[in-house]
């Protein structure tokens, strides 16, 4: 066996799983002593170009409480055509179709390399994808124009049979009917009145008056599909819709001086959810909300329309001064849960210079697996490209999105699921018993969607597990592929149990620092969402002692200073659903240095890295900063790069741009791209991230070497480490 590094890498590539520990302590007591829980990061739809799906149904364990899927870890009696479930030890006969099974003729799911396998199953008629655009019209004209164009463009990216719908809102909400010819029809709702789903469906005419006895029961999807005027196949209405979008006007209601435009985002969303829930329950659907400002009226309002009352800040929240926050959060959570129950996801594209209420609304995406993208204006490439990337396609020409995922986690009886953190909602509470299963619904999945799953070892100290015993975890993910197929992906992993007392070194060496960092960070962020910042930090300090925690402590995921509540929410949202690599970038941004002295090299995220003759490229996941050192900047200003004799300088300037471009191409959401220089105002993005090893306080003490002093009172890594060391050895720790 190679190193643990290789093992970890291999496992991740194959199964999309990273465990904090790759040897599991065999008892509950030991597990708790380890501080970092037994846990893993799981990427359900990790791209596996090499994994052809099989075209049959998985074989399930017959025990009703188990229903685990046949996997390579199962013991198989080829002669008796019987297999034993490795979770509950139930012995199951193979189904008739496996009659020809033998040692040499094994089905794929029994082969070790197929610890992850994907089944294509037939479940009912294929239902087309549904895209429902919910568009804010209280925008500046140029923003609206950009949005119009993006939306029109997006129509060409949708699969032709996808159903598309349009809701626009401002002071009122308009649900556009797309099937009509001649006059453009829309149903209008006022933005201040909360309506029950039933009312919404009635008002949209989705209820058949003669609907049989059962009140409020939505139409069967197939009926709705034929009758719903609001969601129509793209290929049928794209002309119509293109015109409609082209004629989309700014909200006509006058906005008096000193007021914000009235935005009925809350009701618009509830109508979108109500519409889908009435017509396409349990079908993959995306509600895509494009908003240019905070909700200002009706349920879910985040701020009043008086401009003199600014939108809540962290300060307000701490002072309990955010009047609408709690109510709004409650409202959006309820909405998100409704959407999640029906398998619909909600994306939020919030582009405004000020906050837009993401803090309150983030749960919409958090719980439903939707995207959140935040920026300054729709008229930026940030939005345009990000939005385009939503519809990016994979090597098969299929969308990088899947819908209506249900993740079921089965564990061997020594383990139990403690919880998951990620863009999902829980649909079945974890059973306390051994080997129980647990389900989460992930309404929308992308290949990078990653959940953090936490386990508890339930094995008691006095009932040791025999040597060589393995604990197994099976992840069963059912989802709707973007080509409308229903698929089931099954991943089964196993890890050895280890006795902490005798094998502590082994366990130590099986520690996956990166995974643990992310897992703990998620836990931290999760807590940060619900607890006071300082408490979380204290908790974190108590729990952790690793290097990058310094950066985590400074990161926007835990620190709210310098970030608005919206930004915090935005960062946290992404942190909670990105995969490990990206998460690490988020925690500790990467800094590359370009110079004439050699190829680009990663350098310390430290102020000492900021040198006049360097170009720095910093990737924080959300931002991509190119920083030209003082000298470089002067050269550039002088125009040396345009002189043929300084071709090399030109290349130097170009190098980080190319690299940045590469990152921009792949990252979702598109990071904010910043090209700045020494002394530039945008340089703050860099300066705020680096370790303030040189500050105005110690500038002259340290001095000469170089680097740029950071004007901050934050402690530097050195100070942090000093304290940490002291704490680590002190008796109180």
């Amino acid at each position: 066996m190679a190193t643990y590094q290789d093992f970890i890498q291999q496992n991740e590539d194959r199964d999309g799983v990273r465990c904090s520990w790759n040897l599991w302590p065999s008892s509950r007591l030991e597990a708790t002593r380890l501080v970092v829980p037994v846990s893993c990061l799981f990427t359900p739809l990790k791209e596996r170009p090499d994994l052809p799906p099989v075209q049959y149904e998985p074989v399930l364990c017959s025990r009703a409480s188990c229903k685990a899927v046949l996997n390579p870890l199962c013991q198989v009696d080829f002669r008796a055509k019987i297999w034993a479930c490795n979770f509950c030890f139930q012995r199951n006969p193979f189904p008739p179709s496996y009659a020809g099974i033998s040692e040499v003729n094994q089905p794929a799911e029994l082969m070790p390399q197929f610890s992850t396998i994907e089944y294509i199953v037939q479940r009912g008629p294929p239902t087309p994808l549904v895209f429902l655009y919910v568009v804010d019209t209280c925008l500046e004209e140029e923003d609206l124009q950009a949005l119009r164009e993006s939306l029109q463009m997006s129509l060409s990216l949708l699969p032709p049979n996808a159903l598309v719908g349009l809701i626009t809102f401002g002071r009122m909400i308009q649900v556009h009917e797309l099937s009509c010819e001649g006059i453009a029809k829309s149903y209008v709702f006022r933005g201040t009145k909360e309506l029950t789903p039933k009312q919404i469906q009635e008002m949209l005419g989705l209820m058949k008056p003669a609907a049989s006895g059962q009140q409020g029961r939505p139409l069967a999807p197939q009926d709705a599909a034929t009758s719903c005027r609001f969601l129509q196949p793209v290929h049928k209405v794209d002309m119509n819709l293109t015109d409609l979008l082209g004629e989309l006007q700014r909200d006509p209601w006058p906005v008096p001086q000193g007021k914000r435009p009235l935005r009925s985002t809350g009701i618009a969303l509830s109508i979108a959810v109500g519409l889908l829930e009435g017509t396409f329950p349990n079908t993959g659907a995306r509600v895509m909300l494009f908003m240019g400002g905070p909700p200002t009226q009706g349920p879910g309002m985040v701020v009043g329309d008086e401009l003199k009352t600014p939108i809540r800040s962290w300060h307000d929240i701490q002072k309990d001064n955010a009047r609408h926050m709690k109510k709004a959060i409650k409202y959006y959570e309820a909405l998100a849960n409704r959407a999640a129950v029906n398998g619909h996801s909600i994306d939020i594209y919030a582009f405004a210079l000020d906050q837009t209420g993401l803090l309150e609304m983030k749960c919409l995406s958090n719980l439903t697996g939707g995207h959140i993208v935040m920026g300054d204006s729709f008229n930026t490439s940030l939005f345009k490209q990000t939005f385009q990337r939503v519809f990016s396609k994979d090597y098969n020409g299929e969308f990088h999105m899947a819908f209506g995922g249900v993740l079921e986690v089965k564990t061997s009886r020594e383990l139990k699921v403690a919880g998951a953190i990620g863009p999902c909602v829980c649909t079945a509470r974890p059973e306390l018993g051994v080997g129980g299963t647990c389900q989460w619904k992930i309404c929308s999945l992308s290949p990078s969607t990653t959940l953090a799953l936490y386990f508890e070892v339930v094995n008691q100290h006095n009932s040791p597990i025999p040597q060589g015993g393995r604990g197994a975890i099976q992840f069963v993910t059912q989802y709707q592929h973007s080509n409308t197929q229903r698929r089931i992906r099954v991943t089964t992993i196993a890890r050895n149990w280890a006795d902490a007392q005798s094998q502590i070194q082994h366990i130590e060496s099986s520690f996956d620092q990166e995974a643990a960092a992310v897992l703990m960070a998620r836990l931290g962020v999760f807590r940060a969402e619900s607890e006071e910042g300082p408490d979380v930090l204290r908790w974190l300090d108590r729990q952790l002692i690793r290097l990058f925690m310094f950066h985590l402590r400074r990161s926007p995921f835990l620190q709210v200073f310098n970030n608005s509540p919206d930004e915090s929410s935005y960062y946290r949202h992404h942190f909670l659903c990105q995969d490990l690599t990206q998460s690490l970038i988020m925690i500790q941004p990467i800094l590359y240095s370009y110079s004439f002295f050699g190829p680009p090299e990663p350098v310390l995220l430290d102020s000492s890295s900021i040198l006049p003759d360097r170009i720095l490229l910093m990737d924080t996941f959300f931002q991509l900063v190119i920083y030209h050192g003082e000298t470089i900047a002067q050269w550039r200003k002088a125009g040396y790069q345009d002189m043929p004799e300084y071709e090399n300088f030109k290349q130097l300037l170009q190098a980080p741009l190319d690299d940045a471009q590469e990152i921009l191409q792949t990252r979702f959401p598109m990071p904010r791209y910043i090209d700045t220089e020494h002394g530039g105002s945008q340089a703050r993005f860099l300066l705020s991230k680096v370790n303030p090893s040189q500050t105005h306080n110690n500038l002259y003490a340290w001095g000469q070497e170089a680097g740029a002093p950071i004007l901050t009172d934050d402690v530097s890594l050195q100070v942090f480490m000093d304290h940490l060391k002291k704490l680590a050895v002190s008796s109180s720790a």
Partner: protein, 1252 residues
Amino acid sequence: MNVNQQPHMASPYGQPQPGYQGYPQSGYGGQHVPGGYPAPYAPYNGPASAYQPGPPQGYSPYASFPSKALAANLVSDLSSSSPLDLGMRGPPTSGAPPVSAAQAYSQFGQGDIQNGPPPLGAPPQSRPPVSQPYSQGAMNLSGPQPPYNQQFGAPPTSMQQMTTQMASMQVGSTVPSPAGPGYAPPTVSQPSVSAAYTPSAPSSFAPTSTVPTQPPSTEGTPQPYYGAPPQQPFPTAAPPFSAPGPTQPPGPPLASQQTFPQAPPPSQPPFSSAPPQVPPASYGGPPPPVQASHPRAAPPTSQPAAFPGGPPPTSTPTQYTGPPMQQPPVSQPSSFHSGPPPPPTSAAGFPPQGGAPPRPPHPGIQGPPLASQGPPMSQANHVAPPQPGMLAGPPVPGMAGPPPQPGMQGYPPQQNGAFGQVRGPQPGYAGPYPGQQSYGAAPPAQAPAPPAPKRLDPDSIPSPQASDIPPVQKTRHRIDPDAIPSPIQVIEDDKANKGSEPFVTGVRGQAPPLVTTNFHVKDQGNASPRFIRCTAYNIPCTSDMAKQSQVPLAAVIKPLATLPPDENSPYIVDHGESGPIRCNRCKAYMCPYMQFIEGGRRFQCGFCSCVTEVPPHYFQHLDHTGKRVDCYDRPELSLGSYEFLATVDYCKNNKIPQPPAFIFLIDVSYNAVKNGMVRIVCQELKTLLDYLPRENPDVQSNIRVGFATYNKVLHFYNVKASLAQPQMMVVSDVADMFVPLLDGFLVNVSESRVVIESLLDQIPDMFADTRETETVFGPVIQAGLEALKAADCAGKLFVFHTSLPIAEAPGKLKNREDKKLVGTDKEKSLFQPQVSFYANLAKECVAQGCCVDLFLFPNQYVDVATLGVVPTSTGGSVYKYTYFQAQSDQERFLNDLRKDIQKKVGFDAVMRVRTSTGIRATDFFGSFYMSNTTDVELAGLDCDKTVTVEFRHDDKLSEETGALMQCAVLYTSCSGQRRLRIHNMAVNCCAQLADLYRNCETDTIINFFAKYAYRCVLNNPTKNVRDSLVNQCAQILACYRKNCASPSSAGQLILPECMKLLPVYLNCVLKSDVLHPGADVSLDDRAYLRQLVSAMDVAESHVFFYPRLLPVHKLDVECDTLPVAIRDSEERLSKGGIYLLETGLNLFLWVGANAQQELLQNIFGTPAFGQIDSNMTSLPILDNPYSKRVREIVESFRAQRSRYMKLMVVKQEDKLELIFKHFLVEDKNNSGGASYVDFLCHMHKEIRQLLS
């Protein structure tokens, strides 16, 4: 009747009446004669009977005749003024009238004392008199007077008075006989008059009693009676007599007789032959017409034809009136004629008068024979009257008794059969006409008498006859319908008297011409009657007087009335930035009543006497009379009506208003699509939008428009000019209505024309397949209201709606149609809205200046009472097209729509009526909302909307200063300009009740009563409302009788001249569908009419309650004038005729079964009665003068009304005829409404009770 005039009339009447009476009598006589000639009598009798009903009213109808006559005479006597009248007409008419009057008088004389009658007591006389008197009364008055009037021109007044005094008529009848003799002489002027008279009463009455009675009675008091009615006649005679007045009676009679004779002759001439015959004829029904027609009578040709019999010429008039009548008349005439050719007529007339004598008997009877009174009572009951008619017959005989011929006549009447014959003549008409049959039917309804006769002759329906026969006694009660005050006569008189001269408003206390008269107005300081009409132009000085008289003090104000092209619309005055100059205390606006003092530096308010500084910029020196030098340069100082430009202080929220908007809200539910309404509306709007109201015809209208459709959800349309296609926005949240768009909903027509047209093209198609049957209504109005609110402007909603709003939404209604409640105490709930939602909504609408016009297209109950709440509270209108069918109702609907959209309209109006100290506006009626007790708030005010204001005394008024009122309406014009329209009105104050009664306007009073009653039914059982109306009218009349009329027999009905039509009109109000519904009248219709009437002006309420019935077949193609209308009674219809009936809401063209083929060919393009398509809604366009003229008339009628009247062709005997007959308001109707005659009797009884 005479009461008011009585004074004047008194002497004149005495005389004239005699004359008239004479005539009438003669006429009657004629009738009798006919009776003698069975036929004639019958008719007469008919009339007589008809009269009798009158008499009953008069007092003891039977006896009453005499008594009435007496009364009339007395009245006339009393009314010294009568002399004046006499003076007026005196010469001509009086001559004749006197004669008759004399007779009548004689009777009356007897009658006067009432004792007289008894003394005369000659029972026979009494009877005849009775019949005669009435007949005379009615007949003479109405009939004769008119003629007189016509002849005399001036006389009308007296005439009217005459007419009013029914009693006088009676006298007249008596007179007639004398007149008979007199006739010869009278020929001159009277002719026509007399003719008229004769035709009417005289003929019938005269015949019988005339001779006998006249002599005696006339001499005595009779005159007075006659005087009253006869006034006209009196006039002639009167002048001379007038002075003598009472004493004269005897004299007058003679004179009058003479005059009458004269008169009669003339009249008779036309009628001449007719008189005898004519009278009957005229009596029959034609009478009034006859008079009117007399002139035409000349044309008698027709008559001749009709009455080949003879008296052709004379008869002619009658013939006109009622061809059938003519014949009988003829026969009578013949008889009479035989006697005295032309005189005969008079003679005949006299005979009738002779009949009059009988009246004396009546009186006598009345007095003595309680029984007789009984009959009156019965008449009162109405039931009796019919019978009376029968009785009349007998009386006639009695009458006849005196004069042999009369006797003869009388017999005929008695013969009933004869009567029948008499009517026969009429019947003759009838005969020809199915009408007769109808009459037969009608009779029962109407004065039984008339019917009977008709029956007799025409169809000689056995049953009627039979019934007639038994009710011999009843015959006495019969009142000649021609003898009772005739609306037509009054209208024609007014036309003749006041139509030619411009009406100058500067004279305080002067009553304007009637609404039916075409006149020109010169504004000299008081508002034109087109803007303000008052019930009384002399207001009692004290509230005690007002209470005593019970005459309502009210003004009917139509602030934005459209003026004829030859009158200037009110000038606009701009007082600059500081706004109109007003009194400091009461805030009255500058007007001619402001008195400038201190050299012009201050002015004293005419309303509150407060002295206010004249602002420097308004200062002007005074001339030597104390008038400002610039008085005539400034409209506000010299005119009654003008407008001020309002400043920003007068605007809502102190903001200059936005131009108003029109919003069209169209029901697109299944019914609306299916009946074609949606398509029609959309199609029409495309062109109609070019005709939005504007102030300057050269400029495009500022009014913006918006469109929405709805079923149980609302669809708004964005029609912004920049859109390629309209956009539809559906609002399903009807529970909480809002407007989904701002920009693009209300647009300028010219800018968005393409989009709008595209929208209107598409709407019908979009909903062509709808299956939605449920609708909402409350949210629809809310939507419009919200749209206006959002646009911050006032405006008008046009809602096109089809069904009861049962969809779940605010204002949802349930079907509560429950006819069982009709007639119970809970009936009122049917008029009340079933939910309060709409009242609240209306309040909001008013606050925003949102006026709602509702067009209903119901197939079933839609609860107009509830749906109409908002329109009627916001100054809007409700139009209802039940069972709308595109083909047949399209034209009517579209014309209404066009008119409604195009008519001049103001928005967001507030009206306030200020009055001088002593009176105060206390109550308001109309389509508006009031949030306090003084300000009438109208979200919209169009040129047809009327507000009726009732005044009450606060204090004592002074005769010198009179009473002032100033109506100020602040409104936003259709161009968005804020203006104040001011109407000033000054009326006299009187210390004498007589002045009050002399200067009031019945049409306006009826308008007030109707509105008052129609509002009362909301809170009171309908029966109570009816009773209180009757009671109030009785009090009014009783007060007159008690305080103004000359003392006379209690059995005599005396009506003030100005109010002589009060009973007939009141009866129409009482019989209207709202107060007295037939079984087939839907609750919706009642609610609809109730709301409709509340905003009607006087002209519309007049024709609404008393439809105009025009004999089309008498049309003179050559000239522009219309044929004289006839009274709304079936017996006036001729089988050979074609009549156009106008109700203000509908037009009926009634075609008699025997109409001339040529006529049919000309009008309908087919000579065959059977081939006329009764479904046609417009007349075929034929190239002949007749067709052209008829169509012109139809069009001109329509042009006069605010609503388009659908034309229905009613063929005689056709199913539709039932509907048609419903509008013959003088007849008894199916639902139990009393006939005019019956009601008159009833009123009489009531009055008597009050007096006793």
